[in-house]
Symmetry: C2
Subunit: 207 residues, 2 copies
Amino acid sequence: MSNKTEEKRAELRMRLIDVAEAQIAARGLGGLKAREVTAEAGCALGALYNAVQDLDTLVLHVNSRTLARLGAALHAACQGAGEAPEDVLQALAAGYVAFARENRRLWSALFEHRLPEGVETPDWHKRDHAVLIEEIIAPLAHLRPDLAGEALIMRARTTFAAVHGVVQLALQGRFVGVPEESLADEVAALVSAMTRGTHLLRAGTGE
Amino acid sequence: MSNKTEEKRAELRMRLIDVAEAQIAARGLGGLKAREVTAEAGCALGALYNAVQDLDTLVLHVNSRTLARLGAALHAACQGAGEAPEDVLQALAAGYVAFARENRRLWSALFEHRLPEGVETPDWHKRDHAVLIEEIIAPLAHLRPDLAGEALIMRARTTFAAVHGVVQLALQGRFVGVPEESLADEVAALVSAMTRGTHLLRAGTGE
DNA sequence: TGTACATCAGTGAACGCGCGTTCACTGATGTAC
DNA sequence: TGTACATCAGTGAACGCGCGTTCACTGATGTAC
């Protein structure tokens, strides 16, 4: 059933994603309920399952959006930074901290959400995660000319994960996390430590 | 009601913690059910609430145990390492990776578990988290004689969180995580990067 | 040592709630002639 | 253009399941005399 019908369908799907995004932002991933999303979107409970496969898929759509916004934020952070790879990495890390703080629950949802056992993440969503490491690769390659290809990508992932770990434990308010006031400074110190040694020693023996 | 009664009570509590530990190890934190714990422990459902405040408290007991074991593992890792602070930190990180891999689900439970909104973590359990950073402090102090007191502790937390982040994303099997085969190497590279710059430059300007 | 009574660990059925998903139905929208 | 019919988005009550916690009850253990 063509055009107009398909249009309305897509419209409802968008509306549902909008509402789901707002509700996750307000109450966290655990606070997202099929009944509340549809109520606020102004449709019946069952309509959700016509517009979208299920609630998990709806979450994936929200997460894809969040990743896109995060990607844009990180890209913008790079633009504002100097040329030196250390500066770019510092700007990226600072941008990540800022985004996480300003989008706490949506950012958390990125890492909290799990598909039911045995369900594979669809490819269209997997690809969206690339933004997390894309901008790291170039400056890292400058600092580590000895790394290339797969090894470079691995190191970019590791660099991201290290910063992410500090941010996550801090914003989670957990025991070992640093207090939120110190977060920006500590992340800067971490990035500084990670980048400082490398260009002095170049590719020495071992690491 | 003294002695013998209290003894049996403590015995049941122990049995429940044992079983809960085994079930979390087998099925993950989400797979822990009051009915299954009590069934396997050989008592009635209601007995759980006599032995222990509630299911969350039971999880805290299991987590305390896991932390104690982790602390012992990290302490042992230090013993086997050389004198140089870099080596100690490498040994600690390697020990952490090994423990996480060998105790995946119990280790995950440490960071997955959340008390219901508004419930404070009891002090007896909070204290147990100290093992995560205790052993880091001394070697870090050697590398960074400019840091002391609160600042040193913060940096130890940050160091832990960075390593933890890499391990967590990898073992979670998530998008940006490194594959498990590369985990040990990547963590070693991270620690190497974090420690290498510092003692060359000592306390320079800024970080 | 023996008897009457009190306590409280242990029992498990029942409570209460939450919530994702389905499904028989309706009515608006589109197609065929 | 008008009429008969088909399709399918949208509806919301009902299904089905899971599960932590409570509570009236019992019986074993302990205390008092």
